[in-house]
């Protein structure tokens, strides 16, 4: 049964938006291995699950929105790899903190955050991506790794990443 023109227009709009949500969910699939690594290594299931759900939601929303936001989210997933991988690798390698205050893991989160922020600053203008979306996604992805360093690790990750990404963030505002 053929549809009236207005009904067809409305259904086409719905089909388009649904397709974009599906594309967003497809992009967010990469969060699953990140969350699995964090789950296994950090042994903080509740925090990992909450972080992963938040990250997947932000990625899906950005890709659904499209344009610079979508490109920013995809870039953020790459930029989030250093702060995700560095602390997890160190823990897997068997590093154990002996002192009452251990600066090793927060230090790795800082280095990972700075590397991630530098990637955002370098790549966001080249790919016409939103640095804000990229930084937000990178922070959330990095948080999954920096859970090993607790709140201190996450705070220094956020600080390092924003500091290193600030040239791109400032340029976006200007």
């Amino acid at each position: 049964m053929a549809l009236a023109e207005t009904a067809l227009l409305s259904q086409a709009r719905t089909a388009y938006e649904r397709g974009r949500v599906v594309a967003g969910l497809r992009s967010a699939i990469v969060v699953a291995p990140m969350a699995a690594a964090s789950w296994v290594v950090c042994d903080r299931p509740a925090a990992t699950a909450a972080g992963a759900i938040l990250l997947a939601t932000v990625v899906t929303a950005c890709v659904w929105r499209g344009g610079t936001w979508a490109r920013g989210a995809r870039l953020g997933l790459w930029a989030g790899l250093p702060p995700l991988v560095l602390p997890l690798s160190a823990l897997l390698a068997g590093h154990v903190c002996g002192a009452s205050f251990c600066a090793y893991y927060p230090g790795l989160c800082l280095v990972g955050g700075v590397l991630g922020g530098a990637l955002v600053t370098w790549l966001a203008p080249r790919h016409a991506a939103s640095p804000a979306a990229a930084a937000a996604v990178a922070i959330l992805a990095g948080t999954l790794g920096c859970l090993v360093a607790g709140v201190t690790g996450i705070v220094v990750l956020v600080g390092g990443l924003i500091l290193a990404a600030s040239p791109a963030l400032v340029a976006q505002r200007a």
Partner: protein, 179 residues
């Protein structure tokens, strides 16, 4: 459709694929009549409008997958060709004889065993075709009915058919071995 119009469609589709909602209406207005005419060329009038609408909805639902390096019109027609093929399959299945009619089959016609084999082969071929990309299946479909898509040179069409048949053979071997 002239070259400038086609170029505009390419640009609008690329913008919409990137998430620019302002390109939605121009794409809808341009694609709607094109898909309707395309379906009308390949299907009876009563089915063409429904299939054109289904194809249009399918195009919009898959727009996020559109690669701006490709030609927008060919991409949309590839999806429409797939819908047309599905509609024909549905129609063919609807018209298939019911099992009770086997008893009335004339003695010189194909026997029940031969009919079952033919039906199995047709189903297997449909399954193999369904694994191909819409563009490849469309080329083979044109080849099967002895036509050539407009705007495709004979030599290019021949090459596409060769590639398509090779892909179909691969899909067939993947499912049924080297038989």
């Amino acid at each position: 459709m002239d070259q400038a119009e086609r170029q505009r469609l390419n640009q609008d589709l690329a913008r919409l694929a990137d998430g620019d909602r302002e390109a939605f209406h121009p794409v809808f207005v341009r694609l709607r009549p094109l898909l309707a005419r395309f379906a009308a060329r390949h299907l009876p009038a009563d089915a063409a409008e429904d299939v054109a609408q289904e194809a249009l909805l399918r195009v919009f639902s898959r727009l996020s997958e559109f690669d701006p390096a490709r030609d927008a019109l060919s991409w949309a027609f590839g999806i429409a060709a797939w819908e047309i093929r599905s509609a024909r399959q549905r129609e063919r299945r609807r018209r298939e004889e019911p099992a009770t009619a086997l008893a009335d089959r004339p003695a010189d016609g194909p026997g029940p065993e031969q009919s079952a084999i033919s039906s199995d082969l047709a189903a297997a071929m449909d399954a193999a075709l369904a694994e191909l990309e819409p563009g490849v299946a469309d080329t083979l479909w044109h080849y099967a009915i002895g036509t050539r898509p407009s705007g495709v040179a004979p030599a290019a069409f021949r090459k596409r058919v060769e590639r398509g048949l090779a892909r179909l053979r691969e899909a067939w071997r993947g499912k049924h071995g080297a038989r």
